[in-house]
Symmetry: C2
Subunit: 410 residues, 2 copies
């Protein structure tokens, strides 16, 4: 008898019929003897509708009240789902963030889960009930409702699974059947992976392969919760996200990730003295802009070039901030480029295999793709290239590292 936490997204519970279908699916597992906890998102379109309503009422909706408003979406889903289950003759009970309680910090709209109480959930499970938990919401120390931000229901599911020590956490996806070696839209030969390690998943997720919310993966890794990503609408095998195993290291590269949401800023001839980098980045960090890659060349003639990337929406703000700093410290000039993209190869196998980077660079060179920046970590190599080469680069690397599904056409 396993204890399973399942999470269904907004499209999976988007209509009355779909809610009933999910209820049937959950009951099927329950009848096999498993203890079932189900985490639900708001019905598809619900959250956007509420946000629209809020914007009509206030030009800048208050964050606290926005969370009170948005939390109704998941409340609606779990109530309807529990009714459906009970109508089918099985016991169910909905639970909201405050009832469980799911304790979070007080950052409205993107709260972090601090602690999940389990008494109420375990009691309901002991009473043979199917437990339906509202995703995305929690309660701060003041008793205010908080929400976890987009994709927060994934995090709720994994946090609940960790707290109740579930045997596994199943994340049902509306649009994909698992995690792919890269985006099938860009590379038709992309393959579904059977397993992926938490670390690889983190690198994939943060690089734009948005299948699983990154905080959910972090939670899963921290508490060693096996996460099974699968399709709501088919019974096909999905992808298990688990702790790294010996076998995984045999694979050099697990996937190719990319991001188009990057822009690049270069400061030329920065006087090379201690503390200069900190002086440049201080105003950028203080503005809340997230700097991704940073590259500093080896110093020549007492000056150095510093290049870094920021999200595209922050590009102009960053240019303005940095131009001022450049003038103050006597740098030569600031160059900017929005027309770039980042491509990364990810794999725990890199730790134990040499020459991966070189194979990557050679493959791109063979296609005449110029590399503008390089950044490496233990299990990831990222390069910045001209945006127009992005798709070609992804397909080239996918093939180079043996990820192509040869049963599929181009």
């Amino acid at each position: 008898m396993a204890l399973i936490v399942q999470k269904y997204g907004g499209t999976s519970v988007g209509t009355v019929e779909k809610i009933k279908a999910v209820a049937t699916k959950v009951i099927d597992s329950y009848k096999k003897g498993d203890r079932m906890v189900v985490v639900l998102s708001a019905m598809a379109g619900k959250t956007d509708g509420l946000i629209k309503l809020a914007r009509q009422v206030a030009s800048e909706p208050d964050p606290r009240e926005m969370d009170v408003l948005l939390a109704t979406g998941e409340q609606e889903s779990v109530a309807l789902f529990s009714m459906a289950v009970k109508d089918m003759g099985f016991e169910a009970q909905s639970m909201l963030g405050f009832q469980i309680a799911i304790h979070t910090d007080h950052i409205f709209g993107r709260a972090k889960i601090n602690q999940v109480e389990t008494d109420r959930i375990l009691k309901a499970l002991d009473e043979k009930k199917i437990v339906a938990i509202a995703g995305f919401q929690g309660l701060d120390e003041k008793g205010d409702i908080t929400t976890l931000g987009r994709g927060g229901s994934d995090t709720t599911a994994v946090a609940i699974a960790a707290a109740v020590k579930a045997d596994r956490c199943e994340i049902f996806k509306d649009d994909v059947e698992g995690i792919y070696t890269t985006n099938p839209d860009v590379c038709p030969k992309a393959k579904k992976m059977d397993t992926i390690s938490y670390e690889e998943m983190l690198e994939m997720a943060s690089l734009g392969a948005k299948v699983l919310e990154i905080r959910a993966v972090e939670f899963a890794m921290k508490y060693n919760v096996p996460v099974y990503v699968r399709s709501t609408f088919s019974d096909k095998r999905g992808t298990m996200v688990v702790a790294e195993t010996k076998d995984m290291e045999k694979v050099l590269v697990s996937g190719v990730a990319y991001s188009k949401n990057e822009s690049r800023v270069t400061i030329r001839k920065v006087p090379d003295r201690p503390g200069i980098a900190s002086g440049i980045f201080q105003p950028v960090f203080e503005s809340g802009i997230v700097v991704d890659m940073i590259v500093q060349n080896t110093s020549e003639d007492g000056s150095t070039d510093i290049t870094f990337t920021v999200p595209k929406p922050d590009f102009y703000r960053t240019m303005k901030l940095v131009s001022q700093v450049a003038q103050d410290i006597g740098a030569e000039k600031v160059l900017g480029d929005e027309d770039i993209a980042k491509v990364s190869i990810v794999g725990v196998g890199m730790r134990t295999h040499a020459g991966v980077a070189n194979r990557m660079f050679a493959a791109l060179a063979a296609e005449n793709i110029n590399i503008m920046m390089i950044s490496t970590s233990e299990i990831k190599i990222s390069v910045v290239i001209e945006a127009k080469y992005l798709e070609l680069a992804v397909r080239t690397l996918h093939k180079t590292f043996g990820l192509d599904d040869e049963t599929k056409g181009e």
Copy 2:
């Protein structure tokens, strides 16, 4: 500086524009220096929409989950209202049933308020905030969400007003400007009253003049909360519902109430022996049928006639139950009549004035309206008549007791 609790119904907050208008209205009072607590219903149509959704998911929606679902309506209203107030530059904070907390019993769908905590409300008021409270909802001792039933937001408002010792509770109505001497649709010369006592209001409300939820009036009377019923959409003077004053006794009759939702059952020639009434009504009470008037004639020749009224929807069920009992106890026969109506005159002045009943009977007789049943209380006289005479009876009594507004045409 007064402490005022205001309640706005669903139509008053039925659109984004109306929510903003209510916010403006509340801010106007706030700017005059009053401390403001606002209780809101769900936006018009919201609750019905949710019930419809529930019925699509389950043939008999679970009561606990229904309350979880319905509570989202008021949650939405208070969040949007608070955003609107903050957007206009004033401080506001929404509060839900569980946050306050409003403690109720555990009867889902028609819970009774047991206790209202005030710490959080008073703290927010001290912080100069406008407090927006979700009507209609509470929390039972298990931590489950409950709702108070239709019209429950009136009760929430009065209960909150009692708990925080508000100077008054203002109930804003969407459809009327106050409480009338009778229904203006039936009697065009109906007048708006300036004041009415709690007792009179209770008799009016329970007799079908559904302006104020009856539990709200009971609460107001119990805690002596002055309730001011007025229009959302005009500044005209409304009606104050207050404890009885000496002045009120000068008025013989305050209003004429009526109900069309009645049916009559008569048991002929019931053997007149102790315990017989109890034997007749036991099965009716056990079926949850609410018996209103009961009349037993003085016994003749060892048998008596018993007549009583029940709501129309319960008529056939009652007839069936009573026919069985009549047979068992050896009564002659059972007669039923659905084609009846009840008309009542209400007024605290009756206590100190004689002859009111006689004036009522005479006025009806003058119009050839036959009286089938009579029932009296300290401040009310009700008669049952043929349904077709209802409107005529109401207008006749309204005129007889000097209630007609002579500035209005027929």
